[in-house]
């Protein structure tokens, strides 16, 4: 089959790979029809995630048609068109039972701190992902969800990660009616978090980034007040000024370890790898939120450690909430939102390309060329 494989930092290529097969009685084999490239893939692409092996197939946001199922799969049958949550979850361990599908204990041999994630290095379990014509999908009765007839496949594929992650970012903010919410990052996840902040009753939504085309999109789509951090001298002072000097009720970090905006963090976190990525957006979030406020983190950082002002977390009495999104838990509600027209996921897709063009797709998304917000690959011609 044709698949995208990682060859080293900043190097992806499409090539022939052996077909995946059923390796467990609860596996399904899925013929992929849509597969996004995600901001999380960029951490892999840039060589930031430990145990990212040459030859691995990335891709954790995909949908496709069930081709074959293992003997213990009951809910799915060949021919079903399913969207596949990015988390691999058993549905019956201590964590899955409580709805923590992003933290399953039966899906990742290599690490206990991370659940299993498709195509996301061996630190997330060593599964080949969905940027390929076919993918092995473990625990097929747990995560994969049959796409309703009325739903556009482009919306469906966005429900595998971006929409639930943005939604959970807002949910973890514990937003109460009238709250001022500041979202750092106007990537697909930040945009969706800002959109969802309104659903929870925010009174004001402010989005921070430095890419004007994304800020323009966020201004219209979310809608939100938008600001370029490069034009702001000091983020904490700026947010205080916006909030009668108290600080925001809720700050959301939708950036993660690839953040720009601090020479120090770029040197320590990205160039020298002395910390697990640049934590400047999180630093801003902690120092811009009000006392007793909430910082919600969905931006991804590496497993070692970061310099953040933990002393201020203590003194200000801040609550930090963070997780990988629990996609399956949120899907029923999000499908309702899409059906009711409250969320329009596919509006974020700017680039539709074939699997053969994966090298260009990664570069365009990584270098933020051509007004790119969300690129989607169409393996098997999207059929």
């Amino acid at each position: 089959m044709l698949a995208a494989e990682y060859r080293g930092p900043y190097r992806m290529r499409a090539g022939r790979k052996r077909m995946p097969r059923i390796e467990h009685p609860r596996d399904a084999l899925v013929r992929v029809t849509r597969s996004c490239i995600c901001g999380s893939d960029l951490h892999l692409y840039r060589g930031m995630v430990p145990d990212t092996r040459v030859g691995m197939v990335f891709g954790h946001e995909f949908c496709g048609i069930v081709e074959e199922v293992g003997p213990e799969v009951e809910k799915l049958k060949p021919g079903d068109h399913v969207l596949v949550p990015f988390n691999i979850a058993c549905g019956q361990c201590h964590f899955c039972k409580q709805g923590l599908f992003g933290n399953c204990h039966e899906a990742n041999a290599e690490a206990t701190a991370v659940g299993g994630i498709f195509g996301y290095s061996h630190t997330a379990g060593g599964y080949d992902g969905g940027q390929a014509e076919y993918a092995r999908v473990p625990y097929a009765d747990v995560g994969p969800t049959v796409i309703p007839d009325w739903m556009d496949l482009d919306d469906a594929v966005m429900l595998t990660d971006v929409v639930p992650t943005g939604y959970q970012a807002a949910e973890m903010g514990g937003i109460q009616k009238g709250d001022t919410v500041v979202v750092f990052g106007a990537g697909p996840v930040g945009i969706m978090a800002a959109r969802c902040a309104w659903l929870f009753g925010a009174g004001r939504v402010i989005v921070i980034d430095h890419l004007h085309y994304r800020l323009d999109f966020a201004r219209r789509y979310c809608p939100a007040e938008v600001y370029d951090f490069r034009e702001i001298e000091d983020m904490a002072v700026f947010v205080k000024k916006q909030t009668d000097s108290l600080g925001a009720d809720v700050c959301i970090d939708a950036v993660g370890g690839d953040a720009a905006g601090s020479a120090l963090h770029t040197l320590f976190g990205k160039a020298m790898k002395l910390e697990a990525g640049s934590a400047i957006a999180l630093h801003w979030a902690i120092n811009s939120v009000k006392k007793g406020g909430i910082v919600s983190i969905v931006g991804v950082y590496g497993p070692t450690g970061n310099m953040i002002p933990i002393g201020n977390v203590l003194n200000k009495g801040i609550t930090i909430r963070a997780n990988q999104a629990s996609v399956k838990r949120l899907l029923p509600r999000l499908i309702e939102h899409v059906q009711a027209g409250r969320i329009d996921p596919k509006a974020l897709i700017t680039h539709r390309m074939s699997l053969e063009d994966v090298s260009d797709g990664y570069h365009i998304f990584s270098a933020k060329l051509d007004g790119c917000i969300k690129p989607v690959l169409y393996p098997n011609g999207g059929q």
């Binding site: 092996r53 058993c90 039966e106 041999a109 290599e110 630190t123 090298s359 797709g361 990664y362």
Partner: protein, 170 residues
């Protein structure tokens, strides 16, 4: 020693502690709604397990796991020098920096191994294409020209230095 609610060892029986639980408040739950405690079935790993996969390739296991998870990924098993370093890294826990630094080191070595693997198969990797040079040309010509110029200048200086070194030696 273990009480009826858990199989895990416990040094103190809560029932013997003066004031145990008098201020417990179920609303004081910062994990709501991510974690549904009503469906919790006691501490420990005593859940009904899914059937166990028998991996046909080498799978490294975090020493923080007491057993292999029921399902494992079988992409790109460890091999070569990078594989040896990865195996060694798995002697340390996820809490130990050495674990991650060794894995990152192995990742870099693995890239070089990948190039040799390509060459061994009679394939010269088209690295500029893999890095998306075509898209760069289409959407960021100036950037591409600048990068090519820098690479050319650096290699010219390197060649000149090597030549001079060569002449000195001679």
């Amino acid at each position: 020693m273990a009480t009826s609610t858990t199989r895990l060892p416990r040094a103190v029986d809560p029932n013997t502690v003066n004031g145990w639980g008098v201020d417990a408040d179920p609303r004081n739950d910062p994990t709501y709604p991510f974690r549904d405690r009503s469906r919790e079935d006691g501490p420990g790993m005593a859940w009904q397990r899914p059937p166990l996969q028998e991996p046909r390739v080498e799978v490294l296991r975090s020493i923080e796991h007491s057993r292999l998870p029921a399902v494992v990924g079988t992409s790109t098993p460890p091999k070569g020098l990078s594989g040896m370093i990865r195996r060694a890294a798995f002697r340390y826990s996820e809490s130990d920096w050495r674990h991650w630094l060794m894995l990152l080191g192995a990742d870099r070595i693995n890239v070089v191994e990948g190039i040799f693997e390509d060459l061994a198969r009679g394939r010269i990797p088209n690295i500029p294409a893999e890095m998306g040079a075509r898209a760069e040309w289409r959407h960021n010509k100036l950037g591409l020209v600048r990068k090519v110029a820098i690479v050319a200048a650096v290699s010219a200086v390197a060649v000149a230095l090597l030549r001079r070194r060569g002449r000195d030696d001679w």
